[in-house]
Amino acid sequence: MAITYTSGEQVEVYRFSLPATILIPLLAVFLQAWLPLRIHFFSLFDFPLLVTIFFAMARRNPIGGLVTGSLIGILQDSLTHQPIGLYGIAKTVVGYGASSLGIRLDVENAGARLLLTLVFYAVHEVVYFMVARGLASLHMASTWQHEVGSGFANAFLGVFLFALLDRLKQRT
């Protein structure tokens, strides 16, 4: 079992099988595009963001995290009619941040996952809004109540989803 050591703490680095690496992000984007059409409540969630955070924290490799975030974001952008790169840039930053934090913190327990998902949701929204307004000149409308509610909803879903996805982890 390969173990990396950082700042005196012992952290494990995981990897995933190729089918899981490809299909889980695809499934996340698919659910994002399909579920809200049937049940509008699901538009609160950002499944691709949760998958980005999970992969980044599990792999604990910043380059791998940002590349994963970038690809998932671009895939998500491709389904919209807006310029490609809005979600790509936001998820690149999140992927990098999550994997960098994953090296330094214990991200295996539910409390840490809840908090980190909440923080990274906020980072994602801030970056997305900045890029959309600053670079693409899009008018954005959102209320802080909606954002806070959505942040907590994603954080709670993240805890359950990460526990489910933990089963797909393979130790290096």
Partner: protein, 403 residues
Amino acid sequence: MESVLSRYKNLIVLAAVLFVQILGLAVQVRRASADSESSSRLIRVWAVGAISPFEKVLRWGQTSISDIWHNYFYLRGVRAENRDLKLEIERMRLEQVRMSQDADQARRLQALLAFKEQFISKTLAAQVIGWSGSEQSRTVYIDKGEDDGIKPDMAVTTVDGIVGKVLHVYGSTSQVLLINDQSSGVGAILDKSRLQGILRGTASGEVGLEKVMTDETVPVGEKVLTSGGDRIFPKGLAIGTVTQVTSGTDAFLNIRIRPAANLSKLEEVLVVTRIDERQAAPEQTGTVRAADLLAERLPSVPQKPADATLPNEASATPVAAKKPSAPGTIPQANSAVNTTGPAANKTHAPGTTPLPRGVAPTTIPRTAPAQPSTSNTDARVSNGTGTPSEETKPERPAEDHPQ
């Protein structure tokens, strides 16, 4: 130098990836005015190609299960629904008669003014299979694409009202921009006041009518229709209803519209694949009266054997005798409508059903009736011109005034 690169490798890669994406974004934004899709077409085709098969399979499964359940198992209330629908059809047929007369009149006037009218000549039904996945992009995907003849800028509608227009077309799917997206625009007209404006979506997903001056009066509840000015939506399609009117910051009103179509629960839509224009011309078809339709619903007279018919009737009404199978072929039937005279109670033969006032006999065909028409109320029955047919002229006036 090498140690610096390896030390900051992660940050350098992050900066490089962000730089490439920002550059790509800038290129797309710059080209947006010319062709928004050309620079990213390939990526979008791949993404849609990867996601839409799953969506189609799920949609197919959902539809199949729903069909099996509703068509073979869950039939509760179908009989009552069927009865209600029949009543509704009859009510609508009566309404149709009234409206067709108005339409005929309108066509005559349009013909006089050499108007050209637009009409939807071909539509294609499609199912909604997916959403963009972003609150900032209000688009949906339908299961019809280039292979089915879909082209960009085709109007998409439901029976309730318009939905949007086709934005991007792929092989077997298309992306539809909804009317509540902030980049959407539709030419609109208010139903009663005939004020024109531009319908636009907002960032929060609402729909508003712009460019209506503040000195105009727009009542809440007024219907909004397409004006046809955008050359995408044919004129007169329902858009929605005015829900709120406030004064804007500039010289225009701030009007909120509730879309007629439920944009958050779209399942099936119609894509308008062809719109034709034609010179208005009055139609030459026979007039159908509401009374004729009412008469069809009334209890009919059971068919009588030939020997039961009075001898003088058989000889006096050769036209009626040629149609023995039709119910109510009584020679007195035409006089049944004349209930004002003293003979009103004596106008129907024994064993027949008297028709109520103002109702024509059921044997009168709608286009070329052969039955006599001697009463005032039957003046237009014959051929729609108000002139009785030749066959009706020698009928028996004596029967209206029995001896």
